[in-house]
Symmetry: D2
Subunit: 225 residues, 4 copies
């Protein structure tokens, strides 16, 4: 599809009271999401309209590289928050549905270990924890991201996104590591697991779709060594 | 699927002479790919075997965060090179097949603009150019990556990967910006467009699969403001 | 000098009421500073005690590289905040003393331009603005830092440090760009210019000291081309 | 001092044959150094000429932030290589002079441990090893840098710079980890220890100068807790 402008959308989470995460935090947070959409659109328009026959391609500094790099910050700022706001407004509780099934069966150590591991990852990240489904091997992993776009990986579909930027918790829980821990528990109390499960179902269907396309590389005869 | 160890595989490109890219460059390059697989496996095993009930989750320094972050460097080091070696060994020529169709119809400016833009991106990147298909909106974009894992995005399927790390071209073309340009032309002379087209067919099928899964968020009634 | 452990110290700013920056923000902020000192010490001890004859040096992943990299995050987390807390507790007002003199005489555009430029930099940074004195050429520049250690430069003495991490302002001013702007004005209302001037006097003395040491490279006769 | 344009200078290393590092590598390498100077000047001029009253300060994307960030890449690209080329053209051998004295007396483990540790750091870095003298505490540390500007620290004077970017060694030693190790040994065989000692003498004089300036913060009476 040709690229089209990102549009901030509405989320059920903004229609209800959340448990521990204040309306003020959510409303300020939404303004950041709008800012990411606006800047992603601005960057992509600049790149679409460049005269590439004339533009300088320089790896030290060139507008082309600068806009391309910060576009990914803006784009993932949008994608990350789109997922995060979609998660909130639920009843929390332990993982259930397809996500619980898959993690119990396939994550190293099962569901109990995952529940510990995702909390430790949320303390160890500087920006986001992104639980992702790898389209190559179908495995699930807790990716630690240090900003909107630091240490993302591709060919991966995000299933569960926890924002641990300070804007997500400082007002309600304080800027300390303990404040963050309390916030992460609040996040899980407000999580809509149906939303997480829909992400996972889409991810599994994407992998199945790719596999059924039959677009597979023929095996080479030789060997590199 | 439970995670399984990455295994370096064989590539047709190693069975033939490439035009301008020496066998020595390719063989040294393959050793780096083996190193990424080995380190990705080492990191993932460390993370699988952590005692998460006891492990420290600290965002300044903790083994958990360090291994998680460098795992993505190793993992994309593997994924990037797996794609890159798969591309080589072809007859080059202008883009053809599904990739040419889609870029002509949907990339801003069409195929001619894309051909200029990808070359400029290859001069402006510090590590890789990754032409990717966005699973959210189905658009194609030239992502500039500054290392194996800097500025990747998720929910994106890679279609065409150009390694512009110096190991890919210094021996054959020299370390200068002009040397890199000559290398990029050699890359295109050796490109197997069928491989690129298979990547794109998989990506489109993945997006269709996700869409047909019906796992879609219900529209919220309210509005955030 | 042999390395010695970093010790969090006390600051005059914590003895008085600041204008617009709450005690709660300051106290939580101080806990982060203590955390940086603790982690810097932990990392440096690990590195001091490594068996370097046996240790693996691997650029993809090795404990050596992981600890070395995050040590700089911890170290600059300490240095940045040490400077920042030292700045606060003053009477604000326009720049005065040596800093005003030097900026008026030497910064491109003079003092008025600098006052605009540092505010714009504070909106454009993701972590810190560090006004630094370059020991090579003696010029003053507003460095934009995206985290505790992203985009620092060496052979530079920091003169004025503005923390624009969200922990510095979200509680008191909100997480939005406008909230940050109000915070930056509050920072300047509480700034002790004497402290800034002492930093600059030290920086100039350091450069003079290096210059008077006479440890200068002899000019080579030839030319590289 | 007002900022002045960086000018690539000449180095004794280009007047003689180096042991193991080819003239072709050195000449291509010098072109990169010229490129860094040119881009540093371009970025600084853009920043000097911005209309800061009107300029957008935006942390997601703004030309101000993009140019400021890549300026540090260009500036350290220049500073790093200026030091590196200054080191080469010597007789190598074990560390001697002031550097040997200070490392033996103050580096944790002494000179033998340092000799192992710097080699392991050179294998573990993705861009540079920068042996630096900290102006705060006078200690010496092997900083690992992943690019021209990733993980630098300020208030530090560089003493010894080892370029481990692939452009420094691929042509002469191959792109593999073993190739890099051979290159690092060649670097030490060509090292002019006098140059390193001059850097250290300057660093110590800078610290003494700052200390003797008497520009010291008065101790606060209170305590933060």
């Amino acid at each position: 599809m040709p690229w089209d402008e990102l549009k901030p959308r509405t989320f059920a989470a903004f229609d209800r009271e959340l448990d521990g995460i204040s309306r003020q935090t959510m409303e300020e947070h939404y303004k950041l999401y709008e800012g990411y959409a606006k800047k992603a659109n601005e960057c992509r328009r600049i790149l679409n309209e460049l005269d590439y026959a004339q533009a300088e391609g320089n790896q030290v500094y060139s507008p082309l590289r600068a806009v391309s790099v910060d576009y990914t910050f803006a784009l993932l700022g949008y994608k990350n928050h789109d997922l995060y706001f979609g998660h909130l407004g639920g009843e929390g509780g332990p993982p259930r549905g397809r996500f619980a099934e898959v993690v119990e069966a396939e994550f190293h150590g099962g569901l109990d270990v995952w529940q510990d591991s995702v909390r430790k990852a949320a303390s160890a990240a500087r920006g986001w924890v992104m639980v992702g489904y790898d389209l190559n091997d179908g495995s699930i992993f807790n990716y630690i991201m240090d900003s909107q776009n630091l240490w993302a990986v591709y060919n991966m579909v995000p299933i569960l996104a926890i924002d641990v930027y300070e804007h997500a918790y400082v007002r309600d829980f304080g800027a300390t590591p303990d404040g963050r821990k309390q916030y992460v528990e609040a996040f899980f109390r407000n999580l809509e697991w149906d939303h997480v499960n829909r992400q996972l179902v889409q991810a599994e269907a994407a992998r199945r779709g790719a596999s059924e396309s039959g677009a597979r590389e023929p095996e080479p005869a030789g060997s590199p060594a």
